[in-house]
Amino acid sequence: MSTAKAIAQDVRTGTRRAAAVLEEYLGRIELHDSDIHAFNTVTAEQARAAAASIDAAVSQGRDPGPLAGVPIAFKDNMCTRGVPTTCSSRMLETWSPPYDATVVQAMTAAGAVMVGKTNLDEFAMGSSTEHSAFGPTRNPYDLTRVPGGSSGGSAAAVAAGFVPLALGSDTGGSIRQPAALCGIVGIKPTYGRVSRYGLVAFASSFDQIGPFAADVADAALALEVISGHDPGDSTSIPTAVPDYDAALGKGVEGLRVGVISELTGGGRNGSRNGGGNGNLLEGIDADIAERVLEAADALAEAGAVVGSVSVPAVTYGLTAYYLIAPAEASSNLARYDGTRYGLRIDGADVEEMNRLTRRAGFGDEVKARIMLGTFALSAGYYDAYYGKAQRVRMLTRRDFDAAYADYDVLLSPTSPCVAFRFGERSDPMTMYRCDTCTIPSNLSGDPAMSVPFGTGTDDLPVGVQILAPALGEETMLTVAAALERAAPPLPAPQMAAGGASGGA
């Protein structure tokens, strides 16, 4: 399978035609997506037209851009003009937006070719895609297991070789956790680095769009294309976008890497105390913590200065997040009332129409979170819940600032566990704990990414999370590239062994 970088290179120089590249990927989707269910919609005809215009541009001597002819999938909560944008919800099953999200425009302008919209937990609320109204996505590594979520469709699409690049959104770990479970790279950029305009909101103060790719270089390339200031998003950061590709080869000599002790069981300070997981946060697999320590060793070997650092607030992150995010969601999802777009179930009056529409349109997890958030914002409870959670958020910010005074980047597991079986985490609290390691970066707004590093239970992929201070994407990518070079090779996905990449 080619990288996005190689495809773009070949298409720009006329070595390969975008149309041929596209057919190769559409063929794989056609053959295997019935097993995986990564896609809600495949836009084959539209993609063919786009690929043809890329080829026409090349033949006329014009450069279609840095992602020329690269097939790409968008999570189905990013608005695509004239193409259904369902959020994997009955509520928006038939809704096609009249406009493109800013990231969709940016990708198209860079020459990428959209092949479809990927499955997710309904309105991005979940960590397994089991909460999709259209059925779950399966993990290409083991079809009996989840791909993670909520951007499980995008992660599985990349892992299965359906697309070299996909975009997801990360509110509490929804890019990084599925990347880890599917053995690929996933980046949550600094809040504000990538425009949210056209991303259907779940929790506005956390939501951030980022890329999935099979390797760090492709992820960096995609990140560069979608980053930048957007006057349409007031929270977008007006800072120039660096050359992320240049960061990849820099090397980690002298970089200070801190292993977050609460998420790895103490880590080490120069010397190894393997298995010392006495203070490991509940629910984190010991062998995953061990992979993180091995990754730290690999970085030390490459010249980084590695130490252990405590970030106490991470232990409260989950609780704070599951108050603030549902609170914002309860407001963001109010607009689905049957009046203007999406599902409408008529009633005797407006109130009844609202009630019946929302009862029929939302799944149980969405309803649970709306209720949770409505409660957290209610008069008399606001200070105790929403207000207190915001103070934890500030505390998290402060603890990270303290850690970054001593370290350039931090390391932790991405997911507390490897890909789990369908139904295994049906208890909401067990499911919510999937986000333990990823949530702190959403609370602080800082960038973080997951890079595959070895395997855990049942030889399934493990992701190591690299965290960096705000706008520290370059350092984060430098470390990611070094880890990628040091990582043991991953076994091939089960699906791929069944012949998915046979044609390549």
Partner: protein, 476 residues
């Protein structure tokens, strides 16, 4: 100020919503304009489409700052909140509004002829769309079988100006609104028309024993869409409260609707109290106007009504005339016209008597000045000047209101004085007996000659000049 009952006093606080005169909406680039086809002035933001995000309109903030400064408010760092409630004309089912951190706070307004009224706050918020109920009487919800929503108005910037309960009567309330309106007009912040809803007044009304300073239970009265109904609603509501106290009852705090039957009616009370679940709007960043920006807005502010009245007074206008001119938004026009050489008395007279017209506020000061000068030079009679002014107002929108051109178009050619003298001579020759009487001091027969000259000129002659010529001949 007439009191409703001598042993009671009325206590009023006003919440005034004004639509700010911006080209686009508070959070989107859609035109902020009325009267167009329904749902045409909308963007994904105005419709609350999934994925859309608000971007604050800088001009709306500037206007809010200007109004705040004019009301002697402190301009503060502020944030927007979401006010959550379900209603079909509210596209997102929440309203973005400033809540506990408004942009303007703690100011005051000196009401001419009355007290200083404290301003608690002025804050920015977005307007809702407009619902029309089908099948019910007069588009009201009762008996309706369906509803249509027009989102053209959704997202229009509103400034809500909240006074303290410092207003002591219906007349004071009316004067407060008039003065506020004059300020908004002077700033160009809003066209502030009560009848058209670009200015909406809600009155919080209570009463207390005369001389006390307690605040008793208040009722909020809505649907007041003229100054007259504001006064009537306050008087009605105050009497209602007094009646309740006198019969041993107490008013309950509620929202009431001013109705065409001259009464207030309680709106259907909700089963439970509203809980709007306010929280900071995460899609917007805090708004902290820097001092330099505030100074620039202050420097660009025109003269305010109080200062305008003072200057008009210096030109010889009495307080009533000055008030009329200011409230019509014509103060700058008058002052500038006088500055351009027009006679002050005539200009003030025209503004008060002849410019209660649409378009008057759009007149060009130099054109008004040249009209007044033409009149002073005898090129136009007073009646002709009034007629020309009317046409000027009609055409002010196009800027095509040159008084000379309009006078020529209307055939208002000034009489050549030798021609006029000849006609006067002719009139005297035709009426020798009347001339003898006139010369004998019978002034009223002058009408015979004036009438004859007017007839000969089809009304074009200036009667004043004819009288002067008659007097000259008699005294010669």
């Amino acid at each position: 100020m007439a009191k409703v009952a001598p042993e009671w006093e009325t206590v009023v606080g006003l919440e005034v919503h004004v639509e700010l005169a911006t080209d686009t909406k508070l959070f989107s680039a859609a035109p902020s304009r009325f009267g167009d086809e329904p749902n045409t002035n909308v963007t994904p933001v105005c419709l609350g489409l999934p994925g859309s995000l608000p971007v604050l309109n800088r001009r709306a903030v500037e206007l809010a700052i200007a109004v705040g400064l004019a009301l002697n408010c402190e301009i503060r760092p502020s944030i927007f909140h979401r006010k959550n409630y379900f209603y079909p004309d509210m596209p997102k089912d929440y309203q973005v509004s400033q809540y506990d951190q408004p942009i303007c706070s703690d100011g005051w307004l000196d009401v001419p002829g009355a007290n200083r009224v404290g301003i608690e706050r002025a804050h920015l918020e977005e307007d809702a769309g407009k619902t029309t109920h089908l099948g019910g009487a007069d588009g009201r919800i009762h008996g309706a079988v369906g509803a249509l929503v027009d989102y053209n108005r959704a997202g229009t910037p509103l400034l809500e100006i909240v006074s303290r309960p410092d207003i002591g009567s219906a007349a004071e309330a009316s004067a407060y609104v008039e003065e506020l309106r004059a300020i908004l007009l002077a700033l160009g912040a809003s066209d502030a028309r009560l009848e058209e809803g670009s200015m909406r007044v809600d009155a919080n009304i209570s009463v207390r024993p005369a001389g006390s300073d307690e605040l008793r239970t208040r009722c909020e009265v809505k649907n007041v869409n003229s100054l007259r109904s504001l006064r009537n609603a306050i008087d009605y509501e105050a009497r209602r409260h007094i009646g309740l106290y006198q019969s041993g009852e107490e008013p309950i705090q509620e929202t009431r609707h001013w109705s065409t039957d001259g009464r207030t009616h309680a709106l259907r009370s909700k089963e439970e109290a509203d809980d709007y679940r306010y929280f900071p709007e995460p899609d917007l960043v805090p708004l902290a106007p820097d001092p330099e920006w505030i100074s620039r807005v202050r420097a660009a502010m025109p003269a305010l009504p109080a200062a305008q009245r003072e200057r008009l007074g210096e030109l010889g206008a009495d307080l009533d005339d000055a008030q009329i001119i200011v409230n019509r938004g014509l103060a700058s026009l008058v002052l500038d016209a006088v500055g351009a050489g027009a006679d002050a008395n005539r200009t003030v007279m025209h503004a008060v008597q002849n410019l209660a017209l649409d378009g008057a506020e759009l007149l060009d000061a130099t054109q008004l000045a040249s009209l007044v000068q033409m009149e002073a030079a005898g090129q136009l009679t007073a009646t002709q000047a009034k007629t020309v002014l009317g046409v000027m107002c009609e055409r002010a929108h196009d800027g095509n209101a040159d008084p000379g051109a309009i006078a020529a178009e209307l055939g208002f050619e000034a009489m050549d004085s030798s021609e006029l003298e000849m006609l006067v001579g002719q009139a005297i020759a035709d009426h020798p007996e009347a001339w003898q009487k006139f010369c004998a001091g019978e002034a009223k027969v002058a009408g015979v000659f004036v009438g004859a000259v007017m007839k000969a000129t089809r009304g074009q002659a200036d009667g004043k000049v004819v009288n002067q010529l008659l007097a000259q001949r008699r005294d010669a």
